[in-house]
């Protein structure tokens, strides 16, 4: 008992000492980039032992709220903030970090399915209900389709993946835009909801004739079949890190990066891609934290990009990195620009 008390006392005494010589930066937000961000934070901490990050992957919505409320030093979100959200957090700066993609997977007795724009939208609108629908057959000569029902599967939990998927459908189908629209949760015309990528995958794998959408990283790691999608130029493009990066290269970036890269131009662009963002303050109040954050961001969009591909995230294309460099140079700490240390 005495020993225990002593140990507890020592532990108490030890904590403040540890905290005093290292800077703790708190963040919260998106779950999608969490594996990459943890890798970044631990690698950055190895190079800079005095800086530690504490990141809670509570979801983009929670990240935006906590950032707006000022309870965290930085936020993270898969979707850019809406105008209404920016009105509440006027000094937010979006820093795109990497790209992700959403893939359409299926469970059927054939392989090599290609999806045209109209077919994908009509399946999710509930207008195409059978695999042997003539519209599917026309786009896939050479595949013999069974007379089987299509079971539509989608995410039941609010998610950035759903945001990207519905954003794409809204762009390729006027009917989808009018009837459903886009968001992290929407009112689905048909289908079953699975919780998380694993829930959707479970449903698709178990239900013969099912079709669903999951993140590219999840599909790659679990070797799920992924349908090539028809992009803006009429090419069928298979999802990959290269075709995802190509999508970002085909978009004209506004200064605040609040842009959708779904259905991007470019013959190799995969049409269901998206940036994921870190949210930081234009002018940081805390000198030490602000300077550390700016330096970390610089590292993340340069050296940090090398960690993206092994974890199945698509790195930023060069043109985007050049833009982000300017944005990082524009960040202030207590009203003054920050001298970025050499990395």
């Amino acid at each position: 008992m005495k020993k225990l008390a002593l140990a507890a006392l020592l532990a108490l005494a030890g904590t403040p000492a540890l905290a005093a010589d290292s800077l703790l930066i708190n963040g919260a937000g998106a779950t999608f980039p969490f594996p990459l961000y943890s890798k970044w934070f631990s690698e950055y901490n190895k190079a800079h032992p005095d800086i530690r990050f504490n990141y809670q992957s509570i979801g983009s919505g929670g990240g935006i709220q906590q950032f707006t409320a000022g309870t965290v030093d930085f936020g993270a979100s898969d979707a850019p903030l809406s105008d209404a959200q920016i009105a509440k957090a006027p000094d937010v700066v979006h820093i795109p970090t990497v790209l992700g993609a959403v893939v359409v997977t299926y469970n059927a007795p054939f392989t090599g399915l290609r999806l045209t724009r109209a077919v994908l939208a009509d399946i999710y609108l509930g207008k195409i209900t059978k695999w042997n629908d003539p519209a599917i057959a026309r786009a896939n000569p050479g595949i013999k389709f069974p007379d089987a029902a299509i079971t539509v599967v989608r995410r039941s939990d609010g998610s950035g993946t759903t945001y990207v998927f519905t954003d794409y459908l809204s762009k390729i189908s006027a009917e989808w835009k009018a009837k459903v629209g886009n968001g992290t949760s929407v009112s689905w015309p048909v289908g079953l909801g699975g919780k998380g990528n694993e829930g959707v995958t479970g449903l698709v794998k178990q239900t013969p004739g099912a079709i669903g959408y999951v993140e590219l990283a999840y599909a790659t790691q679990n070797k799920l079949p992924a349908a090539p999608l028809e992009n803006q130029e009429g090419n069928f493009v298979a999802p990959s890190l290269a075709s995802t990066s190509a999508a970002a290269a085909g978009v004209t970036l506004p200064a605040d990066y609040r842009v959708s890269v779904t259905d991007a131009k470019g013959k190799d662009a995969y049409p269901m891609a998206s940036f994921t963002y870190l949210l930081v303050h234009r002018d940081a109040k805390d000198k030490a934290k602000g300077e550390a954050m700016v330096n970390f961001l610089w590292w993340a969009v340069h050296s940090g990009q090398a960690f993206a591909a092994p974890l199945d995230y698509a790195p930023l294309p060069k043109a985007v990195v050049e833009n982000v460099e300017k944005t990082i140079h524009g960040l202030l700490v207590q009203g003054k620009p920050v001298q970025i240390a050499a990395h």
């Binding site: 509570i58 979801g59 983009s60 919505g61 929670g62 935006i64 709220q65 809406s82 209404a84 959200q85 029902a149 079971t151 039941s156 939990d157 609010g158 998610s159 950035g160 459903v180 629209g181 886009n182 968001g183 992290t184 949760s185 929407v186 009112s187 689905w188 289908g191 079953l192 909801g193 699975g194 919780k195 829930g199 479970g202 449903l203 178990q206 239900t207």
Partner: protein, 325 residues
């Protein structure tokens, strides 16, 4: 009157009208404060839910929210009915399946089965109660749902397909899957409490019935069960409470589709499931407000069902006492 149950702290000891000394008085206050804390916490939960829910109430009347079947976060149109329906239907299925099974199990263990079998079975029931709900959910997803789709649902449709509750496409995910998972999860609660309740039935009652020439089944039906009825109802109430609030396991097998359908095979949605699913990524105040309002609705349903069950229990125990006199 003999004690009806030895599970709760309800064994009444007459409290002295005035506390004798300071120590007793301090103890009395301490306990009152601790007891009052529960009320305060419940009140704070209600207040906070109301505060978060408020943005959803502007320009929307309560009746419309409760009766509307829309759930469209993009257009910010919200209605609670599909979730209320799903919660009630899955809980009803769960009780209908779990109650007879657990009472049967309890009767077998305490009245009929060999004495040696009791400890291992009682232990197994406790283990069932300790399994985390996500494990039940995974089991449901990978074992129960395919079995429902491939075996039970075709069988039910083939034999009882004239009933509207067994019609429609058989997907596996739906009210039936949710209800059966819940039945499995509340079974240990109902069974273990019922076993304790049956233990309190005086041997004299049983022996009296047998001495009058009743068969074993007649003794159970006419002497044991009537005596234990309030306790069994209480056990069911505990199970119902768990069924109403269960989130994880249900959301994994119910299909998460905010629709109302007469068929048990159709996908549905429950109140706790939609809150858990959408809260983390809900960004608009109205969406968050609507989810908090669903929380209030769940609160209300739990309260109403508890009150109804309490009235039922007191009515039944009055009846039992009458029969005994």
């Amino acid at each position: 009157m003999p004690p009806t149950s030895d599970t709760g702290a309800a064994r009444a000891t007459p409290a002295p009208a005035r506390f004798a000394n300071l120590g007793d008085r301090a103890w009395g206050w301490g306990i009152s404060i601790l007891g009052g804390t529960i009320l305060v916490v419940a009140g704070l939960v209600l207040l906070e839910l109301g505060r978060v829910a408020r943005p959803a109430w502007e320009g929307m009347n309560v009746l419309r929210f409760l009766t509307s079947t829309d759930w469209d976060p993009v257009q910010e149109k919200f209605g609670a009915l599909p979730f209320v329906y799903g919660t009630l239907v899955t809980s009803a299925v769960a009780i209908l399946v779990a109650l007879p099974v657990s009472v049967g199990l309890a009767l077998f263990l305490s009245e009929m089965g060999p004495r040696r079998l009791r400890p291992p079975v009682a232990y197994a029931i406790e283990v069932l109660a300790a399994i985390p709900s996500v494990i039940y959910g995974l089991w449901g997803l990978f074992v129960l749902v395919p079995w429902l789709r491939g075996t039970l649902e075709p069988f039910l449709q083939g034999t009882l397909g004239f009933l509207p509750i067994f019609r429609g496409p058989m997907i596996g995910h739906g009210y039936l899957a949710g209800g059966l998972i819940l039945a499995l999860m509340i079974l240990p609660t109902i069974a273990s409490v019922t076993i304790e309740v049956l233990k309190t039935v005086p041997a004299a009652l049983r022996e009296g019935a047998l001495a009058l020439g009743a068969t074993r089944w007649e003794a159970i039906r006419m002497a044991v069960l009537p005596y234990a009825r309030p306790g069994i109802l209480g056990a069911t109430l505990l199970g119902l409470g768990r069924a109403l609030g269960e989130t994880m396991a249900v959301t994994m097998v119910i299909g998460n589709s905010p629709a109302i359908s007469a068929s048990l095979f159709a996908p549905g949605y429950t109140l706790p499931a939609v809150i858990a699913n959408e809260f983390a990524e809900a960004t608009g105040d109205v969406h968050i407000g609507a989810l908090a309002s669903l929380g209030l609705v769940l609160f209300g349903i739990t309260l109403l069902l508890n009150a109804a069950a309490r009235i039922l229990i007191s009515a039944v125990s009055r009846g039992t006492r009458g029969a005994r006199a």
